[in-house]
């Protein structure tokens, strides 16, 4: 089955025996849980759109392993065009779902590992790349969703992994066996974790020799024995349990994050892609992070939805002809397209690595993500400015439906006379959803911290710009001798 559709994907998830906890209780039916379900719908969309002629040019690719048509989320980039199409796919999906669709992180992990495993083999004569390509073929042939898991709890940030008071603050090997290894630790903030078939583990920071037990990378089925998922809360999440649907904002899609605990989990050798090669941990982190910083083209897609919603509410409020409203919407578009520029630029300036995988321009990928840590907040601020305070003082859908007070809401919360109060409420709830509700996790805070917090990009930018050349030209142009 080289490419699943949405139904096949959903059916495949039902076969997993995940151990998921939420609100202190085990979730027995993960796929149908009303809080988790919208996030499953968003991943399912990545399968469905791959079968639609109007999207397939971005959503599919040709496998370099088998030559078959595959979902782009399981592809190893083979050209600059592949990198550009990845950026475009992210924007497309964000613009169709209005949320995080979760599947990019696994794609980025796989592409980073395709390079790092190759480079470790060249240095040490190991066989990680062969193992990894076998895993990739399995992923492609079964069209799997993979969680790329990097972020460890990290404990005391001033201490290296081996110096932590609790040695489990970074994922580590606790036992080596003839047939594999046993690992212990946790990965935080795992986007789409319970919608994934496989989980790919990577180290979270550069390491020294003393940290070698922590320099590990591997992949496991998401329901492997000993893996436990604890769902993260999102602002307004329990609105999904209410009878009405208006107050959810986004009626169809959503995202999720989870803490994933590895309670002494066995990993067979054929699934181990890095084992104590501490000197390659930093490279893997940097390569994954750079790809993932490119992936934030998706926020331009979510921005498309928010801008559309803002234009609508301006019209519903009768304010759309005001010059300052028009100007603010222009500013939102300007910021949004600037986000897209960064992702396209780092892809268009990509290059071929020795493994054959194409890799983004890392300076531009960091610039892209640095913009993403800021611009969605400004776009959200402008959306809230135009939407008005009603977005946060609006009574509930139950009040609108109430035989006692519904008529008052309908009367006093009508804006433009040709738009119903319910229509206006729906649009306000969507803006609320993206700027401060469940989708704000993806649109705002994930934009801030996902793929590395702002300072991580600033460090990379400072390392990668060629300051000597800039200084030399400046000196030459102002006549300083010896430049």
């Amino acid at each position: 089955m080289p490419m699943m559709n949405a139904k096949q994907y959903e059916d495949s998830l039902r076969k997993l025996k995940l151990k998921v906890y939420m609100f202190g209780k085990r979730v027995e039916n993960v796929v149908d849980d009303p809080i988790i379900r919208p996030s499953m719908n968003a991943v399912a969309a990545t399968y469905e759109f791959a079968h639609m002629p109007e999207y397939e040019d971005l959503m599919t690719a040709t496998s370099h392993i088998t030559g078959k048509k595959i979902n782009r989320f399981t592809h190893i980039h083979q050209s600059v065009d592949d990198l550009v199409k990845k950026s475009k796919m992210g924007r497309l999906l964000g613009s169709l779902t209005g949320c995080c669709f979760q599947r990019c992180v696994g794609m980025d992990a796989m592409n980073a590992l395709s390079m790092t495993t190759f480079d470790i083999d060249r240095e040490y004569g190991t066989e990680y790349n062969k193992r990894f390509l076998k895993f990739m073929e399995y992923v492609q042939e079964n069209d799997l969703t993979c969680d790329g898991a990097m972020t460890d709890p990290k404990g005391d940030r001033s201490k290296a992994p081996h110096q932590q008071a609790d040695p489990d603050m970074f994922m580590r090997v606790v036992e080596e066996r003839p047939d594999g290894i046993v690992v212990r630790g946790a990965k935080c903030h795992q986007t789409g974790a319970v919608n994934s078939h496989e989980i790919i583990i990577m180290p979270t920071i550069s390491m020294r020799e003393e940290d070698r037990d922590y320099a590990i990378s591997f992949a496991l089925p998401a329901d492997a024995e000993g893996i436990i998922y604890i769902m993260g809360r999102q602002s307004c999440d329990t609105r999904k349990l209410e009878k009405g649907t208006i107050d959810r904002g986004n009626q169809i899609y959503g995202g999720h994050e989870a803490l994933v605990v590895f309670d002494d989990v066995f990993v067979p050798w054929e699934r181990v892609f890095m084992y104590k090669e501490w000197d390659f941990a930093g490279q893997l982190v940097e390569q994954f992070a750079s790809y993932h910083r490119q992936s934030y083209a998706c926020k331009a897609g979510v921005g498309d939805v928010l801008i559309g919603a803002t234009q609508c509410i301006a019209e519903y409020n009768g304010a759309h002809k005001a010059s300052h409203v028009k100007d603010k919407i222009i500013e939102m578009n300007h910021l949004n397209e600037t986000l897209f520029c960064g992702s396209i630029a780092c892809a268009a300036e990509g290059h071929r690595e020795p493994s054959g995988t194409y890799y983004v321009n890392t300076l531009l990928a960091n610039v892209c993500k640095q913009n993403v840590t800021r611009f969605p907040y400004e776009i959200a601020r402008l959306a809230q400015d135009i939407a008005g305070g009603l977005m946060v003082t609006l009574p509930s859908e139950d009040d609108l439906r109430s035989p006692e007070v519904g008529k008052w809401l309908d009367k006093y919360y009508r804006g433009s006379t040709d738009v119903s109060t319910e229509t206006r409420m729906r649009m306000l709830r969507l803006i609320e959803n993206i700027t401060m509700g469940t989708a704000a996790v993806g649109y705002l805070t994930e934009s801030m911290h996902g793929a590395g917090s702002p300072q991580a990009q600033r460090i990379m930018i400072s390392r990668q710009v060629n300051m000597d050349v800039k200084k030399k030209v400046a000196k030459k142009l102002c006549g300083i001798e010896g430049a």
């Binding site: 109007e54 397939e56 040019d57 065009d81 475009k88 796919m89 924007r91 497309l92 897209f340």
Partner: protein
Amino acid sequence: MKKIRSIGLKYCGGCNPRYDRAEAVRRIREELGGTVRFAPPDDPDVDSILAIMGCETACADLNAFSGKKIWIITSRKEADNWVAERKKAL
């Protein structure tokens, strides 16, 4: 009786389209109904391709269709013009 021409329909991925591509195709189908049959682009019976691109970048990969007649549409206006040309050619 005139033979109905089969044309392969190929879209770009639609990341940031400047017009509604699906709506443009719907209008084309409506205008040319009964004179053209649109098929998947890899259909062996098609000898020509109508490529619906969301913007002038026109990034869809058309390499697989070399040797075939390819029309590229990048705007609603171009879609209308193409329909007018097809009607004239009938």
